[in-house]
């Protein structure tokens, strides 16, 4: 069996330093704008990422396009006796979204796994040009429904920065509250899916029940189960009112206790822990080199979180734990998510407890990176989410985004090497990847 060498090549010029670890998210950096291939090439050239041969990158770029199915990681060549490519998808119930995985194998072992996206590209971002901000936000929240709050928050932050609009303090607190609620939902959902894959039937039922309770709670306090319409600019149609805050405060404590008990039972289950320990490991070097984000990065021992490192109101005023693990495997990612659920419950408690009074001077938006162009960054449930918005006079000119799924697809692909087919679901779910975020 032969394999092209560029991915294995050890290179001390990639040594981990804080500057380098974070350089990929610099405003003009490449990975910040997934579709901006010229910019991506410039970062590949700086040596922060491994450098595939130029023709490989060129081939990858050529088949990219916006709509046609395309690879989400650069192609590799694995050859050898008896190997063949097994396509999984685009329709499968194992992964409820549409997307394909090309698995190179000679039987049971996965030699190479290439995710193929583009089947469900709805061309949302190009369609935003010329729309008023509120109409664009309506479509942004339907880009990836399960992480709508994070997407709208990042988009609005970028648009506000582009136009220099101030935001009422309360609005920022509402955004944080919605995001933390949705983070709990997403993490709990991921745990439920992993428990399901491990045939922990009682545990997964309990976990999915808890996730449904969170959805109902969101529906009750914000008027929409997925928080659509909760964070729109200029007086959102679904507001968080005093009754909603009281209902939330009353409902959170029992949910938090439920989650703790549930997790204790999971840790007691040796079969469950055994199944995910060592599954789909991501090496710290690879994670840093390829710009992993979120729980995937923190599970490799890199404690980076936008809420602490790019602090905005209200996170500047709140106590926030920053969990991280060392091993980089599915168990580590699960542990990071569990601790983040706890930390989000704690954040919600603080937010509700210290809810700001109405009025007061609005908070200033971040300075624009160029006239009429702003960046917005938030920590979405699966990691750092960047929006780049050009706007003028309340209308959108262009929008680009780098979502956590964009950043983490390559790591999933690398982690799956030398795994077996049955590892797939534990691995896939532990990254929290969403095709809808990539196929925009």
């Amino acid at each position: 069996m032969t394999r092209s060498a560029w991915r294995e090549e050890p290179a001390d010029r990639f040594a981990l330093t804080p500057d380098r670890a974070l350089a990929y998210v610099a405003p003009e950096g490449a990975f910040a704008l997934y579709n901006d291939f010229a910019a991506r090439d410039s970062v590949l050239a700086t040596g922060l990422a491994p450098v595939p041969p130029a023709e490989v990158v060129a081939a990858w770029r050529d088949q990219g396009g916006e709509r046609r199915p395309h690879r989400l990681v650069p192609p590799d060549t694995v050859e050898g006796y008896g190997t063949f490519t097994f396509p999984y998808g685009p329709i499968s119930m194992g992964v409820p979204e549409s997307g394909r995985f090309d698995v190179v194998t000679y039987g049971e072992r996965v030699l190479e796994l290439t995710p193929i996206g583009g089947y469900k590209a709805r061309r949302t971002l190009p369609s935003l040009a010329g729309r008023p901000l509120a109409d664009a936000a309506l479509r942004i929240e339907r880009l990836a429904g399960n992480v709508a709050a994070a997407h709208v928050a990042a988009f609005l932050a970028a648009a506000e920065s582009a136009q220099g609009t101030g935001v009422p303090t309360r609005e920022l607190w509402t955004r944080a509250l919605a995001q933390e609620l949705q983070r709990i939902y997403n993490h709990v959902h991921v745990l439920g899916r992993i428990a399901e894959a491990a045939s922990q039937n009682v545990g997964s039922a309990e976990t999915h029940a808890l996730a449904e309770q969170i959805l109902r709670l969101q529906g009750h306090v914000f008027g929409h189960r997925w928080l659509f319409g909760a964070l729109l600019p200029g007086g959102p149609p679904r507001r968080l009112d005093l009754d909603g805050r009281r209902a939330l405060a009353a409902a959170l404590a029992p949910r938090s206790k439920e989650f703790e008990e549930l997790w204790e039972l999971f840790l007691d289950s040796r079969t469950f822990v055994d199944r995910i320990q060592g599954t789909c490991p991501v090496a710290r070097e690879l994670a840093v080199r390829w710009g992993a984000v979120g729980p995937t990065l923190r599970a490799c021992g890199v404690p980076w979180d936008d809420r602490l490192r790019v602090p905005v109101v209200p996170y500047t005023d709140l106590f926030l734990a920053l969990p991280h693990e060392r091993d980089g495997d599915a168990l580590a990612r699960v542990l990071v998510r569990v601790q983040e659920v706890r930390s989000s419950f704690l954040l919600l408690e603080q937010l509700l407890d210290r809810w700001p009074a109405d009025g007061g001077a609005p908070e200033e938006a971040a300075p624009p990176v160029a006239p009429g162009r702003g960046l917005g960054r938030v920590e979405a449930p699966s990691g750092d989410l960047v929006y780049d918005v050009r706007a003028r006079d309340g209308r959108i000119e262009a929008v680009a985004a780098r979502t956590p799924s964009d950043a983490n697809w390559p790591l999933f692909s690398f982690g799956m090497r030398d795994a077996v087919f049955t590892d797939f679901h534990f691995a896939f779910e532990s990254f929290g990847l969403v095709f809808a975020e990539t196929d925009r």
């Binding site: 685009p90 583009g118 339907r142 529906g219 008027g223």
Partner: protein
């Protein structure tokens, strides 16, 4: 030491009593109700102009287009009840307030009794509908108690649940999945996207609806619809919904 059994027994039964009892307030979120005028008559012009997807006409609201953004609620419309959870014909989605769903056609899967196998096809969704569909299996709805099961292959499926706005890339996979199903079979369109294109209506490279791709037996409006609406549609196509007789 706590145990799974002890914890579950302590909590009691979480599962919905639907369809033996009507759906509760918690199970039918406000977004399951289509906005409509409080009284008969032409709809307010302000509401028509504020709708981002053109769902509000002079006489009626197109439930299939409505993405439940709630903007019109500030301009004289309000969520109307009783909740018509799902409809059999696309025309019924634009019926003026007060009109009844036309008499339902014979349920296509009545001969299958109490065992329905379901396959989900995402032709371009935002993932919210997908998760609401998976949600019918969680203990609060527990579709298995009604004989509804997910299957991993369209060859074993009786019902195709279609979510998302059809992209050109998914037209062929959708057609193949439908053709692979054994008869009798049924298709349910879940959410505004497969019914009318939803929030993505008009984007290049997208089909405006499932029209002409696969025959649809049941429309479930909403953005996204609630799990209880999806259960209602599944029970209806299998002829086990009391409301439909």
């Amino acid at each position: 030491m706590p145990s799974w059994i002890g914890q579950a027994a302590h909590r009691g039964i979480l599962t919905s009593r639907y369809p033996r009892a009507p759906a509760t307030e918690a199970e039918v979120p406000m977004t399951a109700r289509a906005p409509g005028p409080p009284a008969a008559g032409p709809l307010p012009a302000a509401a028509i102009s504020v709708c981002p997807v053109g769902a509000i006409g002079e006489r009626a609201v197109d439930q299939g287009r409505c993405i439940r953004c709630a903007r019109c609620l500030a301009h004289g419309l309000q969520p109307v009840g009783p909740v018509e959870l799902t409809v059999a014909r696309a025309e019924a989605l634009v019926a003026p307030p007060g009109a009844r769903d036309p008499p339902a056609p014979a349920p296509p899967l009545a001969s299958l009794g109490r065992s329905i196998h379901v396959f989900l096809v995402d032709v371009g969704s935002c993932n919210a509908c997908n998760l609401e569909v998976l949600g019918i299996a969680n203990p609060l709805y527990d579709a298995a108690r009604l004989g509804i099961f997910f299957t991993n292959s369209p060859r074993h499926a009786d019902v195709l649940l279609v979510v998302g706005v059809p992209t050109e890339e998914m037209v062929e996979p959708l057609r193949r999945a439908y053709e692979a199903m054994p008869a009798p079979k049924s298709v349910i369109a879940i959410g505004a996207c497969p019914i009318s294109g939803g929030a993505f209506r008009g984007n290049p490279g997208l089909r405006p609806s499932l029209d002409g791709l696969v025959p649809v037996d049941r429309f479930v409006p909403g953005c996204p619809p609630a799990p209880i609406q999806i259960l209602d549609a599944l029970l209806t196509v299998s002829g086990r919904n009391r409301r439909e007789g």
